[in-house]
Chain length 135, copies 2
DNA sequence: CAGTATCCCTCACGATACTG
DNA sequence: CAGTATCGTGAGGGATACTG
């Protein structure tokens, strides 16, 4: 599968760094999606329960109708949650995590815990940096 | 510290959903930072070794000088990597993860693994969604 | 209630040129 | 080599008004 004419690359490299660094890297696309302004919050709030559109609106401070709609549609498109419409008037719509959504929520948990554990250290590092680089 | 006149909130809620959903939430600020377009890639590539500016430029396809500089400065400011300048000409600068940077790298690893495991499922879900919503 | 539609603006980012 | 400075664009996203 490898072309013999392709020159051997001499950058330092080993099996521990097998990330795909191309701009269209799938992993980074998915990370960009789940780490956007609202997706993580939605996934977190739906853990273990279903919620309606208005409930999510009230639980997420600062989100607009427009952005909540877009976020929910993207997560639905990615198969991370399902949208169930009850055909009543006024409309009743419930959002629920899929199996994949729940597994993502589990995976995110350690990262959330890391930020909580280290937020003071990061704040301290920022202060130190700003003091030593003030103009 | 709590005002007695603040009304008791009656939304469904339990101890499993204790996220801070305010717009200025520290956790989300940090997640926004580490999940931006280039930071994860830099942290990943620096795992277990130091690299120079030019090496990172060549390893990260598509990054501009400007964005690599900004990304590295932010990560340095957050205490996730250190910048070591060798006072020679031409300049020689090396970037190395700090202890905190290495611990973040460890924490990110499961999330990267998750995206790799589920990227086919997500692509499939997107296709199914697009087919059923085409118009 | 759960959305769409439209306007508008910021700012993140790329491109390019220059420098100690 | 490792940056800084400047300009231009466009996608992200807020505000507002309207609707089945």
């Amino acid at each position: 599968m490898e072309s013999p004419s392709y020159p051997t690359y001499t950058e330092p490299w080993d099996s521990a760094h097998q990330w795909d660094t191309r701009a269209d890297c799938e992993v980074r696309q998915i990370l960009d999606r789940i780490a956007d302004k609202w997706s993580l919050l939605v996934i977190s709030l739906l853990d273990g329960r279903s919620l309606r559109f208005g409930q999510l609106m009230r639980l997420i401070d600062g989100v607009s109708q427009r952005m909540l709609t877009i976020t929910l549609r993207q997560l639905e498109r990615d198969g991370l949650l399902t949208r169930h419409v009850y055909p009543v008037s006024p409309p009743h719509v419930e959002y629920t995590l899929t199996e994949m959504g729940r597994s993502l929520r589990q995976t995110i948990q350690p990262l959330v815990a890391w930020t909580e554990t280290h937020q003071d250290a990061i704040a301290h590092a920022r202060n130190a940096y700003d003091r030593s680089h003030e103009g």
